[in-house]
């Protein structure tokens, strides 16, 4: 924790203005991307957030057991099917009761992109006043690594295993972040753990935006256990995902997109996949399919990026 300095915040530590509310040792795998993210969020947003979670990798730590907890945050363990609706209920009641609040609906990609997408989309359409964060580890890791809608082409999981008739997932991943931006919500953004200042800024923008409605953050959070890479490589995996445009960093205000980090010379996707065992079986032709998908999505982003300069949040018509 650092005292707030006067002037512009430049270093990531300057964004960590609050205590880490989690115990020092918690039940995550060593090198877990989710853990880094989970500790980071309240240090930036404050310990007075109400965080909600579902059955997932976050559950053992976030939801506690009986009357014991790994942290001191207010939290709500809810259902994967209705996580965004649950957060809606909290935020709406606090608004009705005049209670200042920052509700953070914190879910994996299984909840956000798959089983809970309907109510996520509904909450976005209604412009509900809270922050939804999806930590994307590209599959169902808590149940033992099964494929989800964000699992990329070619990745092996226990439900897309290698076999004589299978080379891993044979479908391309959905682009959850863009889907949410297309709801034209006050704020949507992607972020990851290799670019913490970018992440911190986006958290604060989301907090500001939720005063006007729905804020969505799609955060790339690799899984050392499920993907098969060395625990010390979590940040490097994130860094390469950005450098290959596998996971570009952008933000969207009311649906208008701009890049927050432009990679001047994107590297081939193989520099990313080579770190990760779930892609180890892919040959050049397979990698090309993955590369084509990355290029296609990046091209789409480019087309949508019409805003220039620092994005200003628009003034709500209600103000």
């Amino acid at each position: 924790m650092t005292e707030k300095k006067k002037g512009k915040l430049t270093k990531v530590l300057d964004y960590l203005k609050h205590e880490d509310p989690f115990s020092k040792g918690v039940a995550f795998c060593p090198g877990c991307g989710l853990e880094l993210l989970l500790r980071f969020i309240p240090q930036v947003l404050g310990n007075d957030i109400v965080i909600t979670g579902t059955p997932s990798c976050s559950a053992p730590v976030l939801l506690g057991q009986n009357n014991q907890s790994w942290h001191t945050l207010s939290y709500f363990g809810t259902l994967m099917t209705g996580a965004a609706a649950n957060a809606t209920g909290l935020a709406r009641y606090y608004r009705k009761a005049g209670i200042k609040n920052t509700v953070v609906c914190f879910n994996g990609d299984g909840t956000a992109a798959d089983i809970g997408f309907g109510n996520l989309s509904g909450a976005a359409e209604r412009n509900e006043p809270f922050i939804y964060i999806c930590y994307d580890n590209e599959g169902y890791m808590n149940t033992g690594i099964q494929k989800s809608g964000t699992t990329p082409y070619g990745a092996t999981t226990t439900t897309t295993p290698l076999g004589s008739a299978s080379k891993g997932k044979n479908l391309r991943r959905m682009n959850l972040g863009l889907k949410m931006a297309m709801h034209k919500i006050p704020y949507a953004a992607t972020a990851t753990l290799s670019d913490l200042e970018d992440l911190a800024k986006k958290l604060l923008k989301a907090k500001e935006a939720k005063e006007r409605g729905f804020a969505f953050l799609h955060i790339f959070a690799p899984c050392t256990t499920g993907w098969g890479y060395a625990p010390e490589n979590t940040i490097e995996v994130c860094r390469r995902a950005v450098k290959t445009n596998y996971f570009p960093l952008w933000e969207a205000v009311n649906g208008k997109i701009r890049m927050t980090k432009t990679v001047k010379k994107p590297q081939p996707v193989s520099t990313y996949t080579e770190l990760i065992k779930k892609f180890a079986h892919l040959n050049e032709a397979d990698l090309q399919i993955l590369q084509d998908d990355i290029d296609y999505e990046y091209c789409m982003l480019g087309g949508l990026s019409v805003l220039e300069g620092e994005c200003q949040l628009p003034v709500s018509s209600e103000d």
Binding site: N47, D48, I49, V50, T52, A59, P60, L63, G64, Q65, N66, N67, S69, T72, L73, S74, Y75, F76, G77, T78, L79, T81, G82, A83, A84, A85, N86, A87, T88, G89, L90, R92, Y93, Y94, R95, K96, A97, I99, K100, N101, T102, G118, N119, S121, G122, A123, E125, R126
Partner: protein, 422 residues
């Protein structure tokens, strides 16, 4: 809805001719909920249309969440409730089962949610029609279930439901059930309480200890994992609270009478039971028809009565045994099925008390499902058969009143062996 004819005989209310759905919406409005979430479904839709109009006209100061599905409605009101709010939602049938996981979570979290369920047949066979199968499909969720007979009772039960759910010693969600079509669209005169009387009735809740609430920065969680003893503790407390709710409901009924002049008898209503030899057990809208037929039968010298179930969960076993003990024969009318058992669900449950009933004979009637009308003739037939049972005649244990084919001698053979086959 404007004030209507002043009913001089019943102070504190005004008569309005409204549907059962409107009665539910007005009941909710009188309770001043903080958050309402709902999704339309026949035959419930009119409730949320009415509430939306109240909200649009500034008559209802609540957060209205027009969700994208029933599952979200239940998740939203549960969270709002645990954050400290008073909440309301309404659904029916397919909607009710679409929120099933959330309904279980609501009960597990002991969130004092109040909802209305307009009874309709459930998925399996598409049937936009009345039936209590949706209630039966959710009966083990850990909610308190109340059942209304007419439009007045719908409104009154919604108000009473808040007293029960939010009582500090109970804190269990309450679902008010009433028959779709037969009650949801029934227009009749209803004494609509004045707001100040509704406020007075509910004000008791403000004077009790505050329930645990999830507030920002409050260092409190809900929805933790329950492990072993922790899980057992929560479940035992839940079961105990449901048991306590029986007596609490009776108390609330008495207090309701003091303010509004109407009493229903608590967990059950007994109609001409005192000297009855045979009794029909029923619930919901059928009870009005049964009462009318009982009066005619009484005129003809048949000693028959009605036991109306008002509280279905927890099952009012004790008061039912007290009321039914020593009766010669009991016919239980179910507007639903209990798959895996031949008899209806309520019949099957009442069977568990057979020993305590001290020799009363019992039989099961299935009627009124999929909008089949429980006619006066059907009720008469049920009473006659129950009298036959009392006299020791050979009658079937289970009678599908509106489906005589079920009574044919070969009805229990495989379909392929039946006359005509399938």
């Amino acid at each position: 809805m404007k004030p209507k004819t002043q009913d001089k005989t019943k102070p504190g209310s005004q008569i309005e001719v409204i549907t059962g759905n409107a009665a539910a919406a007005i009941g909710a409005k009188l309770a001043r909920p903080d958050v309402v979430a709902a999704y339309p479904i026949t035959p419930q839709t009119e409730i949320i249309e009415q509430i939306s109009k109240f909200h649009a006209d500034g008559e209802m100061d609540c957060e209205l969440i027009t969700v994208e599905g029933e599952n979200s409605a239940m998740n939203a009101v549960t969270a709002a409730c645990l954050a400290g709010g008073r909440v309301f939602t309404a659904s029916s049938s397919w909607g009710l089962v679409f929120m099933y996981d959330a309904i279980l979570a609501t009960a597990g979290a002991r969130a004092p949610v109040v909802m209305v369920n307009v009874n309709r047949e459930t998925p399996g066979i598409i049937a936009v029609s009345c039936g209590q199968q949706d209630m039966i499909s959710t009966r083990d969720a850990g909610w308190i279930f109340l059942i209304a007979e007419d439009c007045q009772e719908i409104l009154d039960l919604v108000l009473q439901a808040y007293r029960l759910a939010e009582d500090y010693d109970i804190q269990v969600p309450v679902m008010v059930h009433y028959d779709g079509f037969y009650l949801s669209y029934l227009s009749e005169g209803v004494n609509v309480p004045f707001q100040e009387d509704a406020d007075r009735f509910l004000s008791v809740l403000n004077d009790q200890p505050q329930r645990t609430k999830l507030v920002p920065g409050g260092k409190l969680g809900c929805g933790t994992h329950g492990i072993l003893g922790g899980y057992l503790e929560l479940r035992y407390k839940h079961v105990s609270a449901m048991e306590r709710s029986k007596a609490k409901f009776e108390e609330i009924d008495k207090e309701f009478q003091e303010i509004f002049g109407r009493s229903y008898g608590g967990q059950i209503e007994e109609y001409r039971m005192d000297d009855a030899d045979v009794v029909l057990v029923g619930s919901g809208s059928m009870c009005g028809t049964i009462k009318a037929v009982i009066d005619e039968k009484r005129d003809a010298g048949v000693k028959v009565g009605l036991l109306k179930i008002r509280m279905y969960r927890p099952f009012p076993g004790e008061v039912m045994v007290a009321a039914l003990k020593g009766k010669k024969a009991i016919g239980v009318v179910d507007r639903s099925l209990c798959f895996g058992f031949k008899g209806g669900p309520i019949y099957t449950e009442l069977k568990a008390f057979e020993t305590q009933l001290g020799g009363s004979k019992m039989m099961s009637f299935i009627d009124g499902i999929a909008n089949t009308d429980i006619t006066k003739a059907n009720v008469e037939q049920m009473i006659d058969l129950t009298c036959d049972l009392a006299e020791g005649k050979d009658v079937r244990e289970v009678t599908w009143v509106s489906y005589p084919e079920a009574q044919e001698p070969d009805s229990e053979k495989p379909d392929s062996e039946k006359r005509g086959g399938l």
